[in-house]
């Protein structure tokens, strides 16, 4: 039962809730000039909430039966809040001129952040479903918010149709799981399954249930074959929203994949490892090879983020359940990878957005000679692409290093080999962009980048390098966060 003295564990959520209503209120009742400050109110709320999340890390309690307040949840909350800060910075100069309802947009963004926080804390199937749907619905609206933009519209309806089907399938899987165990609590499900103490005789339903759950989470984290929405949506959505979907929202998919599979379904680990193994290979390979033949940088990034999801899943395949963790273990690998990936990929989308603002194009050809037109953007993009490609001294490298190391430690040699071949293929398309930016001559007016966008990019750049060169502290946080979840 919920007790009031534990509510402080939810303070990050409450802070954001207050911030969201404050932003809405200012938008409706505030004076004109106050509205200029809306994004900064949003950011202030997010930063406060980050402080709270960080402060509460290390707690390991359940707020109610349905929500955990553990480091694992706070870790993903921090990623979510950070990404939304970056997205908000990128929106400051993006929204004016496109819509008059800026307050609603920022408020929706804050609600999406709250949805992430709820989802990653869930320890009950009901809460998992609620969190996911909360996030999905706010995301649909964010994607289609610019009503007069045909491409955004189309992206929204595609996202919605895929999403609704996927969540219905996932819900069906949940109903089967409930039918097998008679409970919706993750820990209780694990107990019943391990003890073989099923309430109904339909044991064969367990695998379909697992499969259906995977559809739902796989959809959020854009695993092949549930990825078809991703390229179109990332391409059509307002670019800052694409950055959000490709990082924070995808992170939620992984957080739930880990949380549900590890806490509720250890009894069928063999099954989900095999399933995720196949999905990982498919995701990497399809993502990379389709990315190779893209002519639009934005779509290329979209497919590349599909491929990256494939690498991340490797960490989960290599989950070995040993406590305390071995040096190379899947869970801290996934957590670290997601952190590095969040900054890198969000930064990459923001760069693409900044260029699109000025040239109106995302085509590779329009990146020719970018270094002359904006050395800043070209330089930042270079480092981010190197990080995506997994070149050392960047966060992307450390993430891959951890995850591949975990795979080798668990003797998934073939998987590691496939991943390595894939990352060489990926170098091909990342360097196509680098080649265009630096080597191919191209003319055009200088590209001015708005100040807030600049700040966002500097943050992503600094964090990408920091995570690559001094990863120790972050690794420690990722490991303790992972441990908190496994131990629960």
């Amino acid at each position: 039962m919920i007790t009031l003295d534990k509510l402080y564990l939810l303070s990050p959520e409450f802070i954001l809730l207050i911030a969201a209503f404050l932003v809405l209120g200012i938008d409706i009742f505030g004076k004109r000039r106050w509205q200029k400050a809306l994004p900064y109110w949003t950011i202030a709320g997010l930063l406060l909430s980050m402080v709270a999340s960080f402060w509460l890390m290390g707690h390991k309690e359940t707020v109610t039966d349905t929500m955990a307040a553990d480091s694992f949840a706070y870790y993903f909350q921090l990623i979510g809040e950070m990404v939304v800060v970056l997205v908000t910075l990128a929106l400051v100069d993006y929204l004016p001129g496109r819509t008059h309802q800026q307050g609603e947009f920022y408020a929706l963004l804050l609600f999406a952040a709250i949805a992430i926080m709820v989802a990653v804390s869930a320890t009950d199937l009901i809460m998992v479903y609620l969190g996911m749907e909360f996030l999905s619905i706010t995301s649909y609206v964010l994607v289609g918010f610019l009503r007069n933009d045909k491409r955004a519209n189309e992206a929204a309806i595609k996202y919605f149709l895929y999403g609704a089907v996927a969540s219905a399938v996932m819900l069906y899987g949940m109903s089967l799981l409930y039918g097998l165990t008679g409970t919706t609590n993750l820990a209780a499900i694990a107990q019943k399954l391990t003890a073989g103490n099923l309430v109904s005789g339909y044991q064969w339903l367990l695998f379909p249930a697992l499969l259906f759950l995977t559809v739902g989470f796989g959809y959020k984290s854009s695993l092949v074959p549930f990825h078809q929405w991703a390229p179109d949506v990332y391409d059509g959505a307002p670019t800052p929203v694409s950055a959000f979907l490709a990082t924070a929202s995808k992170g939620v998919g992984f957080a739930l994949l880990i949380r549900v599979f590890v806490t509720a379904l250890p009894a069928v680990k063999i099954d989900w490892v095999a399933l995720l193994y196949a999905l990982s290979v498919l995701t990497m390979t399809v993502g990379n090879f389709v990315a190779l033949r893209q002519t639009s940088v934005k779509r290329m990034l979209a497919y590349s983020s599909v491929a990256q999801a494939g690498y991340i899943v490797i960490g989960l395949v290599a989950f070995n359940g040993k406590v305390p963790f071995t040096a190379f273990n899947g869970v801290s690998g996934v957590l670290f990878y997601l952190l590095a990936y969040a900054f890198t990929n969000a930064g990459a989308f923001i760069v693409v957005g900044a260029i699109e603002e000025h040239t109106g194009s995302t085509q590779m050809d329009d990146y020719n000679g970018l270094v002359k037109r904006s050395p800043f953007l070209a330089g930042v993009f270079l480092i981010l692409l190197l990080s995506l490609a997994g070149v050392p001294a960047t966060g992307g490298f450390m993430g891959k290093f951890m995850v591949f190391g975990a795979a080798l430690a668990e003797q998934f040699y073939i998987l590691a080999l496939i991943a390595i071949i894939n990352s060489v293929v990926a170098v091909g398309y990342y360097f196509k962009v680098i080649k265009a930016m630096f080597f191919v001559p191209g003319e055009g007016p200088a590209i001015a980048v708005a100040k807030p966008t600049r700040y966002a990019l500097v943050i992503t750049l600094a964090m990408t390098l920091l995570l690559g060169i001094f990863p120790s502290w972050f690794l420690h946080i990722a490991t303790t966060s992972g441990l908190a979840m496994v131990g629960l």
């Binding site: 050392p392 290093f401 590691a416 390595i420 170098v427 360097f431 120790s472």
Partner: protein, 501 residues
Amino acid sequence: MSLNAIPLLSIIMFLPLLGALVVLILPGEENQKWWSLLVTTLTFLLSLALFFYWKNGEAGFQFVERYAWIPQLGIDYHLGVDGISLFLVLLTTFLGPLTILFSWDIKDRLKTYLFLMLLQEAGVIGVFISLDMVLFYLFWELTLIPMYFLIGLWGGPRRVYAAVKFFIYTMLGSTLMIIAILALRYFYGSFDFVDLLHGKGLPATAQLAFFGAFALAFAIKVPLFPFHTWLPDAHVQAPTAGSVVLAGVLLKMGTYGLVRFCLPLFPAATKQMVPVMMTLAIIGILYAALVALRQKDLKGLVAYSSIAHLGFVVLGIFALNPSGISGAVLQMVNHGVSTGGLFFLVGMLYHRAHRRMVADFGGLWKQLPVFGAFFLVIMLSSIGLPGLNGFVGEFNILIGAFKASKIAAFIATIGIIFAAWYLLYAFRQVMEGPLDKPENKLLPDLNAREIIILASLVAVILLIGLFPNIFFAKINPSVLELVHFVKIHAAPVLITPLPTQ
């Protein structure tokens, strides 16, 4: 004064890195140039301290620094040099100021150029002094990016193609290497080179797999036949200073890797692979020599001669005896100086005439006597004339190879004759005969800056050629130790762990 208290190696490595960052914010092209020259010269002078404070006769690592870097994963910031790496570090720091001097009148994007050159130098030094596999890999990759840009931005007409080819080839090798490093960690529980040495041995099949992964990465870098196809493209297209760095130090990373890692970490596999590696080395020597004979482009000729020379180095390494490996280590330095020098010379010629086909020249002796004198000395050093540096290295390699396999030594000797043939042929075509091309009559001779560059190279050529024992005294203890280590650990291990030292 305790010298150990000074983190000399870190300073030598971070100085160019710091210099690179400062160049980015320094205003004024003159300032940037002088600053870069100052930084590289200072780095060189500091690295001389390694030489003078060297403890002669010691085989192990000196100037060791070790701090925890990523303790959770057991990754350390672990630096050190031994006889094998000492002169490679010195070679790198020595070529640093020379390449900056040579690039003095680059106009195009000078700041970026200097930044990349300094970054490159820091990366290469890092490769030679890292004793942690992950740290090594970090620097290994760090050298890749600046060279990619140096070729792609300041290269010849087909520079983009050459840059991409260079990158894809080396990236392919290094990704395999990182998987091998991770797998080594799985077998030994450590990323540290010294720990890996003293850890338990691997089964012979596993050794072969590891040897394959590492040797492939290194062979692409060397480049060993048949992985050499990227090199002529990269060399011909790269700007001169880029070629010098490429031939002078970057390629050494491959041969250095073979000596440093493949031999002691996988001794049983090494023993098994000796015939293969020797055959590839010899094919490389002959093939490159034959192609060099047919080259019309002077730069292409030097590039192929470089492949042939590195074939010798690999031959010496896989002779697996002290004279072979010592010769190979010294020959790496020689190759850096001589081939680097030849690239400088071709670059100077090209800078004047804007052509570099052999047929474009003739009778330059009369017009460019100073240039000719330097050309003659450096070319003879490359051929291996006694009294110059090339002889000492090649002679030792051949002695080593002869002990290992008489046929190999015999065929390699034919390679030396070829080298003499094509280099002398090129020299004769360019320098001797009548000065019959009117456009060549206007070429100015070397200026002071160029003379400084070439004179320092010739000084080193003579120093090594006349007093090789200064160098061998520092190289030999480490090499003897290495050979001994490989010998006692070379018996294939099945299940039982190897006796530790």
